[in-house]
Symmetry: C2
Subunit: 296 residues, 2 copies
């Protein structure tokens, strides 16, 4: 076996499937692995079918109830079907919707401006799995229901962090100006947008399909002026609206379980012999992915 293969295997072991480390001495390994998983609610699951494949989002109704309800209404009205990704900056953002200059053809629903849901008062009744205190850009980071969350204890506020894969409502300068168009974050987390956008969900599956969405030119701010050059949104659907047989059974790591906490406790240690330098024990929340599995 060559070194490159070995290297692969080592990194797989340490990064992807180091599940042996989750087991405690007192617990059956398979039990604790199984506890990791929760099933996604079809009411809270968005299928975005694109020309390059299906991207699945979990909606963040606990953080952005009004924006989520609005997006669901738009989806159910068929607003997005056949529209395009018209502003795409590699390593930063994929924006989709209707970039037309005029609003005349739009429904009242599509013209409705949405009140910002950038943050909320800390919800003490909700589980919060602490990851880092302090983080570089927040007093605390942690997970709530699988979402990366920042907290300011001083201000008694918490918000969804702008990690890769989150989707927010595009807006102009006014916080309350978003209507229909959405922006999916790609590349290194643009954390300067934290507490500045209404994040309404995050990709849980199919992130790789975003790679094939046509990029715009950076010097044009990513705008793709010619509509025929843009990648298309084929259809957006709320899973619950489909017949049962067409709903996917999606399981995702439950970030409030002991198994999940142990997984990241192991990551802090970097105990594997591969690591010459063990680090300072800190974790970047946007690098911590929650694994997902789709049961056929």
């Amino acid at each position: 076996m060559t070194k490159s293969i070995l290297s692969s295997l080592v990194l797989i072991l340490t990064l992807c499937t180091n599940q042996a480390a989750f087991a405690t001495e007192n617990t059956n390994k398979d039990d604790i692995k199984e506890q990791l998983w929760r099933t996604l609610s079809p009411q809270n699951t968005l299928y975005m079918d694109t020309q390059s494949g299906r991207i699945i989002f979990e909606l963040a109704e606990q953080f952005s109830p009004n924006n989520v309800a609005h997006i669901k209404q738009l989806i159910r009205s068929g607003f997005y079907d056949g529209l395009t990704f018209y502003r795409v900056i590699d390593g930063f953002v994929i924006q989709g919707g209707d970039p037309s200059e005029s609003d005349e053809h739009k429904s009242a629903l599509a013209k409705k401006t949405m009140k910002a849901e950038f943050e909320r008062t800390i919800d003490k009744t909700t589980s919060f799995t602490l990851v880092q205190s302090p983080d570089l850009l927040a007093e605390q980071t942690g997970f709530i229901d699988g979402f990366a969350v920042g907290r300011s204890l001083t201000e008694n506020k918490e918000w969804l962090i702008t990690c890769p894969g989150v989707v927010n409502l595009a807006r102009s300068n006014s916080p309350d100006s978003g209507t229909t168009d959405f922006a999916i974050m790609i590349g290194q987390a643009p954390r300067h947008l934290d507490r500045n956008m209404s994040i309404f969900g995050r990709v849980v599956h199919g992130m790789e399909h975003l790679n094939l969405i046509k990029r715009g030119k950076k010097e044009n701010g990513g705008m793709i002026e010619e509509p025929t050059q843009r990648s298309k949104i084929v259809k957006m659907t709320i899973a619950a609206d489909l017949p049962k047989a067409q709903q996917l059974n999606i399981e995702i790591e439950n970030t409030h379980t002991q198994a999940f906490k142990q997984k990241f406790a192991e990551r802090r240690k970097k105990a594997h012999e591969f690591y010459k330098h063990k680090g300072n024990g800190a974790l970047d929340i946007c690098y911590l992915k929650t694994d997902v599995r789709i049961n056929k």
Copy 2:
């Protein structure tokens, strides 16, 4: 103009081309903009021609002199031409080279194991543009010659940070086991690899071509077993080895100029009215891109 377009323009202004903010009262704006740019040395520039386009790297000979010299020798021997990207995990790594089980067909050069160059003693004679102190994962972060660098003053060490676009020598558990294969980082920075890999360069242009390189399955650790399924490395070339007419004139932001420092001082402030929340003034070094331009 619709809100989505406005939103685009705002973000372009604030993120991409907010160069007006660089100018000081005493300096001509164009002068200070021009000071930003330095020309890449052809001796230190790697063209990686892939099936999806040319990716251009700046080599980090000041940090990894032996690894860079070795890679250059391999490139000049034609080692990589026609090989493949055989281990690709979306959002993490693109690994290329020769994954064959046997070493028999390889030259002495290709079998040579390279001594690790994970970090160096802080070079006090070199300019260091401080970005953050402390960073989440290092005592300090900053730029040296355009590269993101971490520093431990306590240990008197500095190292290249594993931001998206850096390329390192793949290895197995032994730090000194790397030979020929390389790994390009994509997605959120895998900073747990800081001080654990010999980083020998970084992408300065063509990052978007990495999107089209065929991904492997996560459950296989990204390995693409079937060679015909893999994307190809068409050719790797050191720019200086080409006839002058085929060398690109590449300019990149000089991270040691006042103009560059002003640019990031502005970013800390988030003064634009778009930002409702101004943040804590901290910057994630891996999000700070150095712009590049190619003069035809």
